[in-house]
């Protein structure tokens, strides 16, 4: 190869290299152009996602007080040991390592795993909740051994009165995936991103919107090791509102304890404004166990118990009203101008259907003799009401009862209230495909037919008799943040004053000499207007009802409706004692304890 030739090739190939390098640099520039100009927005977002974290701040849940500012639902500070959701843990090993300091049981591990499996969005999950002071101290002293476990302070709901207010206040529970779906469907999810709990039952559920509050958040800048560099923005949460209930917790306690170990329900209402003063469902349960998920055994024990402690009997317990329905049926007759005084019957102790098809007995053998309407209520004469019912007819009975909120919701500020049942021809046809018999109308008039009522319906209807001008729904919220906000008008049924007076007087006589609850009127400074009732649980088919020897679960339900003082009514109530036998004798004294306290407290 000649020198000149080499030079020629060299210069030419040098040109090729220059072009190649220039092209490569241009390609690199285009790549930078693409990333920095074209995809700028994408990478800008990526960069901030890298380094900016939003930390939700949970709002404090509003406290629940009774009408006298006694705390029913409080927030307590508790210490939890929590594990990071993103890390992997050998739980058995961890439990073994922790046990000398904080005992971790199988139950704790199961609970942790359950929450982990169902929990859609938390960053840490508790392995142990409610540490004692000693455990906190021991853990803190040995913290260096457990750098993958966090000691966290959290607010925990505490229900001070446990069973006594279990159905009334209800409880919160851990938010699960189903809750999130519902919240998202209702556009409320943004209020919950910082929360672990929400109201599940009772007041905690029905006033969730008021109590829950609004979350805040903190935006922080973190580095690649997830260490906090600085706080960029802080938006504080808006805590939930504190609320006061209409309940008087002392009255609630008296009412609850008056049941002793009997099952049943009691509702007491201020007849002037519909405020519920006591709301008892027996037996209760401790709602504190439900906050972070009750363990399986305890739950199935509660859920399967024959005494049904989880049932809120006040708004969901359905009972045949028995004779407590008589004042309302009587009022229906009066309003329809039927069997008004001085109409009387001579009660032989039984009633035969006009066509002779069937005979119904009075509860009293041999009958009550000559009775008018007032006397029929006082002595609870069945015979009088069989005839009255037949003449009035099921349609007019039901129409009138419905005006007093039987067979429909009273509108109380609780979720899942039941309507009860007012049966008629159409209902029976639909349900059993059978015709309606006249005899069924007759027994409906004494409260023994298909009719089913809740204790709340009985109490509210009683309040409407005590004060025919009561124009408020029965309600539990007194005020939120001490600002009155509950005004929920509900017009009372139209009624003739003379008619209501007759019923009121008759009910007052029930606690006087000769009345079915005469014993309650003895040695008492005020007068109680009442009506007793007994609802059959079991049809004895011709056998004698022998209360002494009947198994407990087959005994009749005892019912009692009343208000006091009879002349100037303040408080109305309904009591049901399941399997309590005769109404006056078991339910009556419970009512009296409530009245005694309330009358004395208010100097009526």
């Amino acid at each position: 190869m000649q020198k000149g030739e080499f030079k020629y090739t060299f210069q030419k190939r040098l040109g090729v290299i220059t072009v190649i390098i220039s092209l490569l640099v241009i390609i690199i520039s285009l790549r930078f152009f693409y990333l920095q100009i074209f995809q700028y927005d994408f990478y800008k977002l990526k960069a901030s996602n890298n380094s900016i974290r939003t930390i939700p701040i949970e709002p404090a849940r509003g406290l629940i007080f009774d009408r006298n500012d006694k705390v029913i639902a409080a927030n307590q500070l508790t210490y939890n040991l929590e594990l990071n959701k993103k890390s992997q843990y050998d739980l058995d090993e961890l439990a073994r390592k922790l046990t000398p300091i904080v005992k971790i049981t199988r139950d704790d591990i199961n609970k942790y795993q359950k929450i982990l499996a169902n929990d859609p969005f938390l960053d840490t999950v508790a392995i142990k909740t409610d540490l004692t002071d000693e455990e906190v101290a021991a853990f803190t002293a040995n913290r260096y051994l457990y750098d993958d476990i966090q000691l966290v302070i959290r607010q925990k709901r505490f229900y001070s009165y446990a069973q006594i207010t279990s159905h009334l206040v209800g409880h919160i529970h851990r938010i699960n995936k189903a809750d999130i779906k519902t919240l998202q469907a209702n556009n409320k999810y943004q209020r919950y991103f910082a929360s672990r709990h929400m109201g599940k039952t009772g007041i905690e559920s029905s006033y969730e919107d008021v109590i829950h509050g609004y979350p805040g958040y903190k935006q922080i800048e973190v580095n690649a090791k997830n260490e906090i560099i600085q706080t960029l923005v802080t938006v504080p949460p808006i805590d939930g509102s504190n609320i006061n209930l209409t309940i008087d917790i002392e009255l609630q306690k008296i009412a609850f304890n008056a049941f002793k170990n009997k099952k049943g329900a009691l509702v007491a209402i201020d007849v002037n404004n519909g405020e519920i003063l006591a709301y008892v469902s027996q037996p209760g349960f401790d709602p504190n166990f439900f906050i972070d998920g009750i363990n399986k055994d305890a739950w199935s024990k509660l859920n399967n118990a024959k005494s049904k402690p989880l049932l809120d009997r006040v708004i969901r317990g359905l009972y045949p009203p028995g004779s407590t329905l008589k004042p309302f049926v009587a009022l229906a007759a009066l309003e329809n101008d039927i069997r008004k005084p001085p109409f009387k019957i001579n009660d032989p102790g039984y009633f035969t259907m006009p066509n002779g098809s069937k005979t119904f007995n009075d509860w009293k053998k041999g009958g009550h003799g000559i009775v008018d309407m007032a006397e029929a209520i006082k002595v609870s004469c069945d015979t009088f009401f069989y005839g009255l019912g037949l003449e009035l007819g099921i349609k007019r009975i039901n129409q009138s009862l419905e005006q007093y909120f039987f067979g429909r919701k009273t509108g109380i500020d609780m979720h899942n209230e039941r309507s009860g049942l007012l049966a008629d021809e159409a209902w029976k046809k639909n349900k059993f495909n059978k015709p309606w018999y006249g005899g069924e109308t007759a027994i409906t008039a004494i409260g023994q037919g298909f009719t089913q009522v809740t204790p709340l319906q009985l109490a509210y209807a009683t309040a409407l008799i005590a004060n025919p001008k009561l124009d408020q729904k029965p309600h539990l919220l007194l005020y939120s943040e001490k600002k009155a906000l509950y005004k929920n008008n509900q017009p009372p049924p139209p009624v003739n004053e003379k008619n209501i007076k007759l019923i009121q007087d008759a009910m007052t006589d029930v606690t006087q000499d000769g009345g079915t609850a005469a014993f309650l009127g003895k040695d008492i400074a005020y007068k109680i207007a009442a009506k007793t009732g007994t609802a059959q649980v079991f049809s004895l088919k011709g056998q004698e009802y022998d209360e002494e020897n009947l198994p407990e679960r087959l005994k009749d339900h005892a019912l009692f409706i009343a208000y006091a003082p009879a002349e100037q009514p303040k408080i109305a109530l309904a009591v049901i004692v399941e399997n309590g036998g005769h109404g006056g004798s078991t339910a009556g004294p419970i009512a009296k304890q409530v009245f005694d306290y309330y009358i004395k407290l208010n100097n009526f």
Binding site: R13, L35, N223
Partner: protein, 361 residues
């Protein structure tokens, strides 16, 4: 007087451009430096050593380079061998020699001595270059390639071979031969793939979809692309590179320093820096075309290729079009050996250009 001579001998245009690039690199390093000013101080010392050696080279008789070429080449091969057996391991690869007072990377040195040896080889056989000479040239390339490849340092190994191939190309390797070797390379690539370490294979694979393994082998690429992309047109400003100061960007002072620069100064900064680099390239190319003899031309071109393949591989790497292979950005990245060798290289080009007529005779 040496200083007067030095002032005359320096290519002012080229030296000016290089000072600007070095300054940009220092500023970027200062903003990415998490350890106070320690890295900046150490880099300034590297630069002073580099420029001093560059001046020494400029004042040196270039014939000495020709004379010492084989010794320097063989010495650097021994250094590489030494690294393989006694090297100082860092980031899963043995690339360092630690002399206690001095740590350096022989693979950076070989980027200079291989072109030197090739230039010596072609100059020695000037006017009588046959296929045999080309094959010998390939051997000169293959030995350091293998030694670096087993460190393992895929990036530098590929750079050495690219540079070597460009040298054989400009030295007149027949086109026929080039085409045949290219086909052979393609055919043997599955075999070469098999030789690669799993982590190297993974790096190449994640190139096609870095987000497929965002926390693993794609992490560096993604974080670097985020740094670039979030810089936008004008950048976040000096010292405001969140990717850097929050530690998301790995190796932000060495291999990924230009990602920091891109995040801070945006596309406009990038284009300005690239224009500076291209001006350096064109100036050097101009100097090469003026050289009269084979040794000067081949050595200068080889050195230049070392610098610019470094640039292209580094920028390709940080922008996600080439795998992460660990090649620093010449004159910009933190690192003593790279900075000193780059400055010496520029010095060599200047002295060869100054003495073009002298050597030719």
């Amino acid at each position: 007087m040496n200083i007067v001579k030095l002032f005359q001998e320096i290519d002012h245009y080229l030296f000016g451009l290089i000072l600007i690039i070095i300054t940009l690199g220092l500023f970027t390093l200062a903003s990415s430096d998490q350890s106070g000013a320690a890295l900046v101080v150490s880099q300034i010392i590297n630069i002073i050593i580099g420029i001093t050696l560059m001046f020494a080279v400029i004042l040196m008789d270039p014939k000495k380079l020709f004379f010492f070429a084989p010794f320097l080449y063989i010495a650097s091969l021994f250094l590489l061998l030494f690294v393989v057996f006694f090297g100082y391991e860092s980031h899963g690869a043995q690339r360092w020699i630690n002399l206690g007072f001095l740590k350096f990377q022989p693979s950076e040195v070989i980027k200079l001595t291989t072109p030197l040896m090739l230039a010596w080889h072609y100059a020695k056989n000037d006017g009588d270059i046959t296929l045999k000479q080309h094959l010998l040239a390939l051997l000169i390339i293959t030995i350091p390639f293998c030694l670096i490849f087993i460190q393992p340092d895929l990036g530098t190994a590929l750079m050495i071979s690219f540079v070597g191939l460009v040298i054989t190309f400009v030295a007149g390797l027949p086109m026929k031969f080039i085409s045949i070797s290219f086909i052979l390379f393609l055919l043997s690539s599955p075999l070469l793939w098999g030789i690669l370490e799993p982590y190297q294979q993974k790096r190449i694979m994640t190139l096609f979809d870095p987000f497929s393994d965002a926390l693993g082998s794609g992490y560096q690429t993604i974080q670097s692309m985020i740094a670039l992309g979030s810089g936008g047109l004008i950048g976040k400003g000096w010292g405001n590179a969140t990717q850097t100061y929050l530690d998301f960007l790995p190796e932000s002072s060495t291999d990924f320093i230009f990602a920091v620069f891109s995040e801070e100064f945006g596309f406009l900064g990038v284009i300005s820096a690239l224009i500076l680099y291209l001006l350096i390239f064109y100036r050097c190319m101009f100097m090469v075309t003026r050289m009269q003899d084979t040794f000067s031309r081949i050595l200068s071109l080889g050195i230049l290729m070392s610098l610019f393949f470094g640039l292209i591989i580094n920028l390709g790497m940080i922008s996600g079009i080439l795998p992460i292979v660990g090649v620093p950005l010449p004159l910009f990245s933190y690192g003593g050996t790279s900075m000193v060798v780059s400055l010496i290289s520029i010095g060599i080009i200047m002295t060869l250009y100054n003495n073009k007529t002298l050597i030719a005779n």
